[in-house]
C-alpha cells in the first residue's frame, strides 16, 4: 500500500468544550508509512485530536485533512480505510470478545481470518469470555486484535498500551512494526515517553492543546535525558559547569538533575570524586521534561518508575 505525502495534516485546529479550550491552534502532520508518536501529558488534548480525526467531534476552527479527505464530511468512506483503538475501550458486557472482534472487523469492511486467529493466540486472549468479565487490559486486547486483523492504510491508536502487561506490550510493538513494514501508517498517542521512543520515526508533542515540539527522535534528543538523583559523603561541587547537565537542583550532599545521554560518562566520572552513597536514575516523566525546559508548573500526572542503578 503506502500513501505518499501527508496522511494527516492538521493546521490551526481549535476545539472548545464550553469554556475549556481543548485544542488551541494545534498543528500536526503525519507522513505516509511512518509510525508517528503523539505525546502529551494527561488532558493535553490527544484524545480530542484523534476524535476530530475520526469525525466523532466537530472542529471549531482550523484545517484537518485525513487520507486526502475531510474527516467530518467523508467520515464513513474514510473509516473503511482506517482502524481505531480508543482510549479505555468500552465493550458490550454480554457479548464475547470474539463476537466483538468480528463485529468491529465486519463493520469496518472485513478482517483477515488467518490474522485474527494468530493475533488472538499471540495476545493470549480468550475469545469465548464475555466482555463484562474482561479486565481493562483484555478489553484493550479485543480492540487491538480487531484493529490489527484488518488490512487498513492507517491505524489510530489512543494510549493503546495502558493496561497491557509488559510482555503484551512487546507483542504490541511487534505488530506495530509489522504494520509499518506493510506500508501502513500508525498514529500512536501516549503520555509515557518510553512507549513512543521504542517505535516512532517522528513525533509530535502536545501540551495544553498546543503543539510544543515536532520532529524526528534524533531532533528531540533532549527527551531521552536521564534523571539522576545522587547522595554523597562529601559536598558535591562543579555539576553546574558540566556540559549536558540540566534542571539541576542540589544542596550540600545531595543533587538531582537531568543529563543528556552522551554526557552520562563525564558526569559519572565527575561524581566519583565525592564518595557516592546512593545513586538512582530513571527516565524523567513528561511533566519533568517540560518543567526542566520551560520552568513552568504542570498539572500532575503519573511519575515514571524509578529504577536503582548502583549501591
Amino acid at each position: 500500500m503506502g500513501t505518499p505525502g501527508n496522511v494527516i495534516k492538521i493546521s490551526g485546529l481549535v476545539k472548545r468544550f464550553g469554556k475549556t479550550l481543548a485544542l488551541d491552534e494545534f498543528n500536526m502532520s503525519v507522513q505516509g508509512g511512518e509510525v508517528h508518536g503523539f505525546l502529551g501529558p494527561n488532558g493535553a488534548g490527544k484524545s480530542t485530536t484523534v476524535r476530530i480525526l475520526l469525525g466523532l467531534l466537530r472542529r471549531d476552527g482550523g484545517e484537518v485533512k485525513l487520507l486526502g479527505g475531510d474527516p467530518w464530511r467523508d467520515a464513513v468512506s474514510l473509516h473503511r480505510r482506517l482502524a481505531y483503538v480508543p482510549d479505555d475501550v468500552k465493550l458490550w458486557p454480554n457479548l464475547t470478545g470474539g463476537e466483538v472482534i468480528d463485529l468491529l472487523g465486519r463493520l469496518r469492511g472485513g478482517l483477515n481470518p488467518g490474522r485474527r486467529a494468530e493475533l488472538i493466540e499471540r495476545f493470549k486472549l480468550d475469545p469465548t469470555k464475555k466482555c463484562g468479565t474482561y479486565s481493562r487490559g483484555n478489553r484493550q486486547k479485543v480492540a487491538l486484535v480487531a484493529a490489527f486483523a484488518s488490512d487498513v492504510e492507517l491505524y489510530l491508536m489512543d494510549e493503546p498500551t495502558t493496561g497491557l502487561d509488559p510482555l503484551m506490550v512487546l507483542t504490541f510493538r511487534e505488530y506495530v512494526k509489522q504494520a509499518r513494514d506493510n506500508g501502513s501508517t500508525v498514529l500512536l498517542s501516549s503520555h509515557i515517553f518510553a512507549d513512543v521512543e521504542a517505535l516512532c520515526d517522528r513525533l509530535t508533542i502536545i501540551r495544553s492543546g498546543k503543539c510544543v515540539q515536532a520532529g524526528t527522535l534524533a531532533e528531540l534528543r533532549h527527551l531521552t535525558r536521564t534523571k539522576v538523583h545522587v547522595e554523597s559523603e562529601k559536598p558535591i561541587t562543579g555539576l553546574d559547569r558540566l556540559q549536558g547537565v540540566h534542571a539541576l537542583e542540589q544542596n550540600e550532599n545531595e543533587a538531582e538533575f537531568h543529563v543528556d545521554v552522551d554526557a552520562i560518562d563525564d558526569v559519572l566520572r565527575h561524581l566519583v570524586n565525592f564518595k557516592i552513597k546512593a545513586l538512582y536514575s530513571a527516565p524523567p516523566s513528561l511533566e519533568e521534561i517540560f518543567m526542566g525546559h520551560y520552568g513552568e508548573e504542570m498539572p500532575s500526572g503519573e511519575q515514571a518508575g524509578v529504577s536503582e542503578v548502583s549501591k
Binding site: 466523532l56 467531534l57 467520515a75 479505555d88 463476537e99 468480528d102 463485529l103 463493520l107 463484562g132
Partner: protein, 545 residues
C-alpha cells in the same frame, strides 16, 4: 469476629451510594399505593360490591395468580388481593438489586478490591449488604403500612400485609447473597435471583389456582405449591382476616439460612470469582450479529422476551376475565360507573376492552423507552465511539434503534392480541370475532407509541444529556393526561389533548378513525427525520479520560 471488621464503614459507604435510589424505591411504592388504594376503595363502596369483587377473584383461576379470597368481608382483603403480589415483586426487585450491587457488582468493578486491601474483614461487605437489605425492607414496610392505615384499613391487617411484603424482600435478599457467591458476574447473579423471584410468584400463583374454593365462606384453600414460596407465606398469613403471624418466621428463617450459606460459600471462593465460572460464549459472531440491526436486537432481546412472556400472561388473564365481566358489572354499580367513565360506553365488555387495551398500549411506551434510550447509554458509556469509528454511518446506527423499537413493540401488540383474543374466544365463543376486535383495539396504539419513539430520537439529537430525563417525563405526562388516568382525574380537554394516547380511537367503543392516526404517523416520521439529520451534525457526547 475479625472477618466483620470495618462493617460500620462499609454500611456508611453503601448508604451513601444508595442515598437517592433507596428513598426513590420507597417513595414510588408508597406513592403508587397512595393513588391506587382510594381507587380500589371507590370500586367496592358497598358490602355487596365488595363481596362480588372478591368472589370474582376467587372463582377466576387466572385472577388467583395474584391472591386468595379470605372471607370477602373487608376492604383490606380486597386491597391485599389487588396489591400484595405486585408489592412483593417490587420488594424482591429492590432487595436483590441492592444485595448484588453491594457484593458482586462491587467486585466486578474492582471497587471492593480497594476496600478489601484496607482494614475490612472478608465478610464485612456481604454482611453490610444484608443489613442494608433488612433496613430497606423495614422502611418499605413502614411506608406501606402508613399508607394503608391512613386510608382507614384495619391496623393489624395493614401491619401484617406490609410485613408480609418485607418478608418476601428479605427472602430474596438471602437468595441474592447466595447467587452473588455462585456466579462470577453481577449480570448472572441478578439474573438468577430474578429467576428465583419469578419462580416464587409462579409457585404461589399455581398453588392458588390449583386450590379449592369454598363458596359458603368465600375462602380459597391453596394447594401445596403456595407453601413453597415466600409470596405464598405472605398470602397464607391472611392479613385482614386471620393475621397468622407465625408465617413471618418462615421468611426470617429462610433469610437467615441463606445468609449463613452465603457466608460459608464466600470462604470457599477467590475474590472476584464465583463458584461457577462464567459460561463461555461463542468465539465467533453469528452472521446475524455483525450488522447494526442485529447488534441492537441481540443487546435487548432479553428485554423483549421478558415483555413477550408478560404479554402472553396478561393476555390470558384479560381474556379469561372477559367471560365474567358482565356478571360482575351487573352486581357492582360503582365498578360499572368507573368502567363507563374509562370506556365511554355502556356496553360493558366494550368498555372493558377499551380500558385494558388502553393500559397495555400505554404500558408498552416503557418498552419503546427501554430500546431507544439505549442509544444514549451506549454513547455515554463509550460503545458507540468504537462503532461509529467504523464504516457505520450515524444514520444507520440510529435507524437500527428506531427500527428495533418499532418492530419489537408491533410484535408485542400482536402477541397480546393473539393471547387475549384466543382465550376470550374460548370463554365467550366466536374466536374470530374477538380476535379481530381485540387486535384492532390494540394495534391502533402503534402510532402513539411511534410518536414517543420520535420524541426520544429528536431529544437525543438535540439535548443528549437530557434524553432519559425528558423521555421519561414525556411518557409520564402522556400517561397521566391519557385516556385512563386523565378521565378519572377529570382533566380539561386541552390538557388531555397533550397526550398522543388521547387521540387513539377507543375501539371497539368508538369506530375506527384514520385521521388522527395518520397525523401521529406524520409527526413521528417528522421527529425521526429531524433526529437523523441533527444527530449527524452534532459532536458525540463522549466521556473524556
Amino acid at each position: 469476629m475479625k472477618t466483620l471488621t470495618g462493617i460500620g464503614a462499609m454500611i456508611r459507604v453503601a448508604l451513601r451510594r444508595d442515598r437517592i435510589q433507596l428513598p426513590l424505591w420507597i417513595i414510588l411504592t408508597g406513592g403508587f399505593l397512595a393513588v391506587a388504594v382510594p381507587t380500589w376503595k371507590g370500586v367496592v363502596q358497598t358490602e355487596e360490591d365488595l363481596r362480588a369483587a372478591i368472589e370474582l377473584f376467587a372463582v377466576n383461576p387466572a385472577a388467583r395468580l395474584f391472591g386468595i379470597a379470605s372471607g370477602g368481608e373487608s376492604i383490606g382483603e380486597f386491597v391485599m388481593l389487588e396489591a400484595f403480589a405486585t408489592l412483593s415483586i417490587v420488594a424482591g426487585l429492590m432487595s436483590f438489586l441492592l444485595v448484588v450491587r453491594h457484593t458482586r457488582k462491587n467486585e466486578d468493578t474492582r471497587r471492593a478490591e480497594l476496600i478489601g486491601s484496607s482494614v475490612v474483614g472478608r465478610h464485612a461487605g456481604l454482611a453490610a449488604a444484608l443489613i442494608l437489605a433488612v433496613f430497606a425492607n423495614v422502611l418499605l414496610a413502614t411506608a406501606i403500612a402508613i399508607v394503608l392505615i391512613a386510608n382507614g384499613l384495619a391496623v393489624t391487617g395493614s401491619i401484617a400485609m406490609s410485613l408480609g411484603v418485607a418478608g418476601v424482600g428479605i427472602s430474596i435478599a438471602g437468595v441474592a447473597a447466595v447467587t452473588a457467591q455462585v456466579y462470577s458476574t453481577s449480570r448472572s447473579a441478578s439474573g438468577m435471583a430474578g429467576a428465583v423471584l419469578a419462580a416464587m410468584f409462579v409457585l404461589s400463583g399455581a398453588g392458588n389456582m390449583l386450590g379449592r374454593y369454598d363458596e359458603a365462606t368465600v375462602w380459597v384453600h391453596s394447594a401445596w405449591p403456595s407453601w413453597l414460596s415466600p409470596i405464598g407465606w405472605g398470602q397464607q398469613m391472611r392479613p385482614f382476616a386471620e393475621n397468622d403471624w407465625w408465617l413471618l418466621g418462615l421468611s426470617v428463617a429462610f433469610f437467615l439460612v441463606l445468609s449463613m450459606a452465603a457466608f460459608w460459600l464466600a470462604t470457599r471462593r477467590d475474590f472476584g470469582m464465583g463458584l461457577l465460572p462464567e459460561k463461555p460464549g461463542p468465539a465467533r459472531a453469528a452472521p446475524g450479529l455483525v450488522n447494526p440491526f442485529g447488534l441492537v436486537w441481540r443487546l435487548q432481546r432479553g428485554v423483549f422476551f421478558g415483555w413477550a412472556i408478560g404479554m402472553v400472561a396478561f393476555g390470558v388473564i384479560y381474556g379469561s376475565i372477559s367471560g365474567e365481566i358482565e356478571g360482575f358489572m351487573a352486581e357492582s354499580e360503582t365498578a360499572r360507573e368507573l368502567f363507563e367513565v374509562i370506556g365511554g360506553t355502556e356496553v360493558m365488555l366494550d368498555a372493558f376492552i377499551v380500558a385494558i387495551t388502553g393500559i397495555i398500549g400505554m404500558l408498552l411506551g416503557v418498552y419503546i423507552l427501554q430500546v431507544t434510550l439505549r442509544m444514549r447509554r451506549e454513547e455515554a458509556d463509550g460503545q458507540a465511539e468504537a462503532l461509529l469509528a467504523t464504516a457505520l454511518s450515524r444514520c444507520r446506527w440510529m435507524a437500527s434503534y428506531i427500527f428495533n423499537a418499532l418492530l419489537g413493540v408491533t410484535l408485542l401488540l400482536f402477541i397480546i392480541s393473539l393471547s387475549a383474543g384466543l382465550v376470550a374466544g374460548l370463554v365467550l365463543g366466536d374466536t374470530a370475532h374477538w380476535l379481530g376486535e381485540i387486535t384492532a383495539a390494540t394495534v391502533v396504539y402503534l402510532p402513539a407509541l411511534m410518536v414517543l419513539a420520535g420524541v426520544v430520537v429528536a431529544v437525543f439529537a438535540f439535548l443528549p444529556q437530557k434524553t432519559a430525563m425528558i423521555g421519561w417525563s414525556v411518557f409520564a405526562i402522556s400517561v397521566i393526561c391519557g385516556p385512563i388516568i386523565g378521565d378519572m382525574l377529570d382533566l380539561p380537554e386541552a390538557v388531555l389533548n397533550l397526550s398522543p394516547f388521547t387521540h387513539i380511537p377507543q375501539m371497539p367503543a368508538e369506530s375506527f378513525n384514520a385521521a388522527p392516526l395518520l397525523i401521529m404517523l406524520g409527526v413521528a416520521l417528522g421527529l425521526f427525520i429531524l433526529g437523523l439529520i441533527f444527530f449527524r451534525r452534532r459532536n458525540l457526547n463522549l466521556s473524556s479520560g
